[in-house]
């Protein structure tokens, strides 16, 4: 019997249901885990996504044939049962459960297990085969509890204020920005933002999410108003002339990659905060165990190391899955992700 989900040129394919999950080339029917642009791309004839994901796709991909669903609702596609389950990665992010002939497969998409209060609480889903990400699939990646990191960020902001500096926090516009803004809303009244951050935040607020509004920085925003404030900007703004306006400033980067000193030093940033929207080593292992899956396909990250570990420790039959984006152990900072400001890259 063929595998329920196979790995094709265009992406993860379910032949029985005739649909792809997060395809990287245009297809007729796409099931989308979440709104980051390496998972949700242009050109598909039909998109099935969580209802929270739809406004994000509309902002980024324009009008398309979208169908939405809620978590834990079952949709029948050619006799295959498809359902969405919270992945905790960003707003709307979902794992996709696929059931056919009493066999259950789950595609994790990107996920994190710590509840950030806005992305939904991750639920492990029992299955026979689990396709998991492994962006941070090495035991050097063990996150501190998020509150400790938020405290570090707030302490850093306070210190910058004392020194008369503006605090520029670099975050991806979808996901990390909302999370950081939520963490700062009690301690910082007005937060300024780059246009890319503002657009996303406003889209989500308009769609009904209870998020902190930000003030958009325009060429007209007076320099004095920005003194000693907190500014949220996407990685693309780092090192550009846009930053001049905030002088004197400190730059802080919020990304799991900041766990390793070399990454912070290479980027020449003043503050590196290892705040990630991906599962760390312990969460990846715990999740694999909780799904009860006999087979685990590892993608997107340190797949060679993580799958080998699963095999050696008899946790599951692990296999690495090559994507079109190049060799194993490097999708972490794969060329694709460097170009793509949405995913966490170096």
């Amino acid at each position: 019997m063929p595998q329920l989900i196979t790995f094709k040129d265009k992406g993860l394919f379910c032949e029985a249901g005739n649909f792809y999950i997060d395809p990287w080339k245009p297809v007729d029917r796409a099931v989308i885990t979440h709104g980051h642009s390496d998972h949700a791309r242009f050109g598909n004839k039909y998109y099935l996504c969580h209802r929270f994901t739809k406004p994000i796709l509309q902002l980024r991909l324009g009008d398309n044939n979208y169908q939405t669903t809620d978590w834990n609702e079952t949709i029948n596609m050619n006799g295959v049962k498809v359902s969405f389950h919270p992945a905790g990665h960003i707003i709307g992010s979902s794992q996709i459960r696929v059931e056919y002939n009493n066999e259950v497969w789950v595609v994790s998409g990107d996920y994190k297990t710590e509840n950030d209060g806005i992305s939904g609480e991750f639920e492990p889903v029992k299955c026979n085969a689990f396709i998991t990400e492994s962006t941070f699939g090495l035991p050097i990646y063990k996150w501190k509890p998020q509150q400790e990191i938020y405290d570090d960020i707030i302490r850093w902001i306070n210190k910058n204020k004392e020194n008369g500096k503006t605090s520029i926090l670099i975050t991806y516009s979808l996901g990390k920005a909302q999370r950081v803004l939520q963490a700062l809303k009690e301690t910082t009244q007005t937060i300024f933002a780059h246009g890319a951050i503002f657009n996303m935040q406003q889209t989500l607020i308009d769609a009904g999410f209870d998020l902190k509004p930000v003030v958009r920085i325009t060429p007209e925003t007076p320099k004095e108003l920005l003194k000693e404030t907190v500014v949220i900007a996407p990685p693309g703004a780092e090192g550009t002339s846009w930053m001049k306006k905030f002088h004197p400033y400190s730059i802080g980067v919020c990304s799991g990659w900041m766990q390793v000193r070399g990454n912070a030093r290479r980027r020449n940033v003043d503050g590196g905060f290892a705040l990630s929207d991906h599962a760390d080593w312990n969460s990846l292992l715990a999740t694999v165990k909780e799904t009860g899956a006999e087979r685990v396909f590892v993608t997107h990250g340190f797949q060679a190391a993580f799958s080998r570990y699963l095999n050696e420790k008899n946790i599951a039959i692990g296999a690495e899955v090559k994507t079109q984006f190049g060799d194993e152990d490097e999708s972490a900072d794969s060329p694709l992700e460097i170009k793509n400001e949405e995913s966490e890259s170096v």
């Binding site: 035991p139 063990k142 390793v260 070399g262 290479r266 003043d270 080998r308 190049g326 170096v346």
Partner: protein, 548 residues
């Protein structure tokens, strides 16, 4: 909810290893020299004296001997967290730093009882356990890990295994100490140089008022020149300038005090015993003298290439043959102390005159004065400079005749005017990840030239590209890897670079038969294709012309 006050009230460390760990964190995360300086000044203001002495020692390259080797610590770490050795290897190649890898892997090892002993306590422990059994070492290391937070684990392991490469220059340390004890930087620089043992030297002995003359071996800080960035004509009247050859050896300082000879390298390494040729100079030089010059092999007064000096560096036992083929000489540039008096503030012409008086009567092959170049005009000097390579010189040094001998690298009075490097166009064939700041990025490359249809590797290079270019090449490597051998990737031979280097020598250790001196990437030749690169024959011709 976040309690703002609670966050602010978290009290900072005031002593112990934690204080040192915070210092290292601040130094490695700050990008501005002034911030680093301030961190050091703050540290010196509150740290215990014994710890300060160790910090000075560590940041000036005086580490205690390695008490425990890293292979053992790796084993103990694997035992504690129960992961296989290959997984440690994967982590290490991603992090690029052994101590940091350990600290990250052990991040969840519970803090049993935070001890927070001082830095000096731990270093003294290292010295004690160096000769002890493995089991005693293990007990100490593993227990210590259990009492530390991640930052402490990192510095603790780093103290054992390696040097702190966190961008703190000797100059920054000196300036921070100068601010702390209120003495001028040049005096501080002199006091902390030389042959002192941090285990037996107190802070007062090192930097206090009576702390000078006791150490007779102490060298002066070297005066270093920048490369001239404008035309030589901009230096004005040629009569104001003294020109000398720039020799390609090891910059060194000769000290004879109390009838004992000390030879220091610029890297502050005591090299007296490495060059037996020099022993006789203790009888020939007057007492109370300090000379600046170049340690360089020479026959009949003519310098030999650096590759010849390399046959002598690092050798403990020197054969007769080596003494004959690579006899070491000291080419003297300058006089820093005469008759126990500091001459650095006197003008160069006066120092030079005295130097000639002292050195010229000494007829010995182990010492000679570095000659002054006579020249009429900048043009005629430029012509002479073209001949540098023929006499194994790197170019010309220009020094103002009225210049004093300064401390460190300074602009204005001294300039180096080096010859243009040799260059060759070649293609990148292997790539490897860098370490430290460049961990996780492919920055270390191997290059090849053509030989018929074959590509022959001949050098590695790690520097010369901008961060942006490194990112582009890294991207290329990831998309165009052909094979993987451990950490090394074989890459599609497509990217052409111009490699600049200072010298070339025959080598039987390399397939190409040549070894380059100071190779670096001078240009990314995006305009060139692989079939346009240089050939092995081109390299061999260069070897014939310059490899003598």
């Amino acid at each position: 909810m976040i309690e703002n006050t609670e966050i602010e009230n978290k009290s900072p460390a005031t002593s112990g290893l934690q204080l040192f760990a915070e210092l290292v964190t601040e130094l490695s995360s700050s990008t501005k020299t002034n911030d680093k300086l301030q961190s050091l000044v703050d540290y010196f203001a509150i740290a215990p004296d014994a710890d300060k002495v160790w910090v000075i020692a560590i940041f000036s390259g005086r580490r205690p001997r390695r008490a425990v080797n890293s292979r053992l610590m790796r084993e103990w770490c694997l035992e504690i967290i129960d992961i296989p050795d290959w997984l440690f290897g994967e982590c290490y190649s991603t992090v690029g730093d052994f101590s940091e890898t350990l600290a990250l892997l052990l991040s969840e090892v519970e803090i049993l009882k935070p001890e927070n002993e001082n830095l000096s306590y731990y270093i003294e422990k290292f010295i004690h356990i160096e000769k002890e059994d493995e089991s005693i070492k293990k007990k100490f290391i593993v227990e210590s890990w259990g009492q530390m937070n991640s930052k402490e684990k990192f510095v603790f392991t780093k103290l054992i295994t390696g040097s702190f490469r966190i961008g703190v220059s000797q100059k920054t340390i000196v300036n921070a100490l100068a601010k702390t004890v209120k003495i001028s930087p040049s005096v501080i620089a002199h006091k902390i140089s030389g042959n002192w043992d941090p285990a037996t030297t107190s802070f007062d002995e090192l930097l206090g008022e009576d702390a000078s003359v006791t150490d007779f071996s102490k060298p002066y800080p070297f005066y270093l020149a920048y490369a001239i960035d404008d035309t030589v004509e901009s230096l004005g009247d040629t009569n104001l300038w003294q020109a000398e050859w720039k020799w390609d050896g090891i910059r060194g300082q000769f000290i004879k005090r109390n009838n004992e000879l000390f030879v220091w390298s610029r890297g502050e390494e005591l090299m007296t015993d490495k060059f037996p040729e020099y022993f006789i100079l203790n009888d020939l030089l007057p007492d109370g003298i300090v000379l600046d010059g170049e340690i360089i092999p020479a026959i009949d007064g003519k310098p030999l290439p650096f590759a010849v000096l390399q046959t002598r560096i690092g050798r403990k036992n020197i054969s007769k043959k080596q003494l004959q083929e690579a006899p070491i000489c000291f080419f003297v540039y300058d006089l820093l102390e005469y008759n126990y008096e500091d001459w650095r503030e006197k003008p160069l012409t006066e120092r030079r005159k005295k130097l000639e008086e002292i050195i010229q009567p000494i007829k010995n092959t182990a010492i000679q004065i570095s000659e002054i170049i006579d020249f009429e005009s900048w043009n005629s000097l430029a012509e002479l400079r073209e001949k540098s390579r023929e006499i194994n010189s790197e170019g010309i040094m220009l020094k103002r005749k009225d210049s004093v001998y300064k401390v460190g690298r300074k602009r204005g009075d001294w300039w180096k005017w080096k010859i243009d490097p040799l260059t060759i166009d070649c293609v990148m064939v292997y790539a490897q990840k860098g370490s430290g700041r460049r961990s996780n990025l492919y920055t270390d490359y191997t290059f090849a030239v053509r030989n018929g249809d074959e590509l022959i590797t001949f050098t590695k290079a790690y520097s010369g590209l901008t961060d942006k270019e490194f990112a582009q090449v890294d991207n290329f490597v990831k998309r165009n890897s052909i094979e993987k051998f451990g950490p090394v990737r074989t890459v599609k031979p497509e990217l052409v670079f111009e490699i600049a280097f200072e010298g070339i020598a025959a080598s039987n250790r390399h397939k190409s038969g040549v070894a380059l001196r100071f190779p670096r990437m001078s240009r990314w030749r995006k305009d060139k294709k692989v079939d346009e690169i240089n050939t092995l024959d081109d390299l061999k011709k260069m070897l014939e012309v310059y490899g003598k």
